[in-house]
Symmetry: C2
Subunit: 315 residues, 2 copies
């Protein structure tokens, strides 16, 4: 029921995922407003809206599709949940119903940032925790490393700490304290030092750790500038008849880049640190995004991401 294109694209994607990936998909929501096809439906009469206050939503709407989906995972009826809906409410539902993994201080949102020609950079926290403590960021480094290994096959992911200069003395108080902890050595974390905003879209690190405020601002700034550039370039390409003709040659050359930068390609962000696989897809998710998200969910369940995270934070 969640996402700017719900339920149409979401249900279409779920059906396509069931067909193409051979993954049994449960739809959670009000079946009177969509066509489930041969998919099983878990009824939920309420919806927490995209702009609704997440805390109020999860407290009041006990029969919301989000809480019911998280319950399905808790009860073993589903192996993972995927949502393109209200991010805060998705997080809240997962936390309330699945619970935190033992030993995890705070779950974090891990978002893959495209790096064309390379594996994505895993940025976390991308918005779950606006105010953070150094020890939480250290745990994000551990969880992000596990995720980069399970999701992208990177044996020893390089972890960078997002700051405003490479030197350990650069940054705010949170970052300087976190740097000291990471530099002292943390099990499962290959720390490569501070990275800067301009490094996020490069191959400088496999995992970039920051507080959820900085991560969310950075993510949205990148989205904004990429959208802006895409529109500007395509605007120029369609501004004259001659440009349209010239673009016939160039568009096929730019398409691979456009695909690599399209958030629908990535299968969404993961909420790391809850006791289950929870995928937070972009609000603008198309059917294709949902297919990719279901594929990632399947992989993460089969590879036992949650078990690996549980081990990592114990060390």
């Amino acid at each position: 029921m969640g996402g700017d294109k719900a339920p149409g694209e979401i249900v279409a994607g779920a059906r396509q995922a069931a067909d193409e990936l051979d993954v049994p998909v449960l739809l959670v929501g009000d079946p009177s407003v969509f066509e489930p096809g041969r998919l099983e439906v878990v009824a939920a009469s309420e919806v927490i809206g995209m702009d609704e206050d997440p805390a109020v939503g999860v407290r009041r709407k006990k029969d919301s599709s989000l809480l019911r989906a998280a319950e399905a995972v808790r009860d073993g009826r589903a192996s993972a949940m995927v949502s393109a809906g209200n991010t805060g409410a998705t997080m809240g539902s997962a936390l309330l119903r699945m619970g935190r993994l033992s030993g995890v201080s705070r779950p974090a949102i891990a978002t893959p940032i495209p790096v064309p020609g390379s594996t994505p950079t895993v940025l976390l926290d991308a918005g779950a925790n606006a105010d953070c403590q150094p020890a939480w960021l250290v745990q994000f480094a551990q969880m992000g490393s596990v995720f980069a290994t399970e999701r992208y096959g990177i044996a020893e992911p390089r972890v960078g700490l997002l700051s405003i200069g490479e030197e350990p003395t650069k940054g705010n108080a949170l970052v300087k304290e976190t740097h000291a902890l990471l530099a002292a050595g943390v099990p499962g974390v290959r720390f490569v030092g501070n990275v800067e905003g301009r490094d996020v879209m490069t191959d400088a690190a496999d995992v970039v750790v920051c507080d959820g405020f900085t991560g969310n601002v950075t993510l949205k700034a990148l989205e904004g500038s990429l959208t802006f550039m895409r529109d500007a370039v395509f605007g120029a390409m369609t501004s004259t008849d001659e440009a349209v003709k010239a673009s016939e040659v160039l568009i096929p050359l730019l398409l691979p880049l456009a695909t690599e930068l399209d958030p629908d390609t990535y299968g969404g962000a993961l909420l790391l640190g809850v006791d289950g696989v929870c995928i937070i897809s972009h609000g603008s998710s198309s059917a294709k995004a949902i297919v990719n998200a279901v594929g990632v969910a399947r992989d993460m369940v089969e590879q036992d991401l949650v078990g690996a995270l549980r081990e990592a934070v114990r060390r």
Copy 2:
């Protein structure tokens, strides 16, 4: 002496500015390593390097070009200083030699972010203060408003607070407290509420206020993604003979955009809150960037930006 292209491009730009803008330019540095032409030189035997620790540099190198330049402003020998060198050392020199404006808690770096088709968004603090207090951000809002008025002629600049959602409840502790202060009403500030990372490159606000850590990360993330996109698009345009031919039509259509996005166009960032005009140009500044920076410096002196700032923080 400062900047990746110093002294060549810097001196060339200074000479060009003197010729084209009819502004008398003082060069500060070691005249044995550059050709001043008919420009006057203030001798300085030391240089604080681009990667040198700013605090150590300004403490030890009393005869550095940066400290000497700031002294020239303090002593009334110059009306403004322009530097493409070490940002922290530029800031430190200005603070030490010019001093803070009475009533200013902390000076802030105001950086214009391009918004093609509109005036730039003034982002501050872009890196002077990694850890901030709410009252400082309120003062950044006052100073940023004055700057947007003086520099871009905006009568009542709209001020947005950088956060992770539009609602006043969104953000970290610093932002939530600052929101309450700004929403209660601040003299000289037209507060339009929270803005997000994706709004910085749009016309959503004329001034965007944040702490210097978030501002610097955001600025560098934007620079990184724009550089990446520019390289990717030009890479596609030169990847085949056919593409090169097709690009002959498109490049002239993209040039205005490239110019608008080029940091050299903007004349650099301003350090607001010190008792003098201090322009911090991009480290990669070309001669053109220096010409533009000198032009901005002249305008800000003629319009008495410093006097207007002094008034604004008194209210």
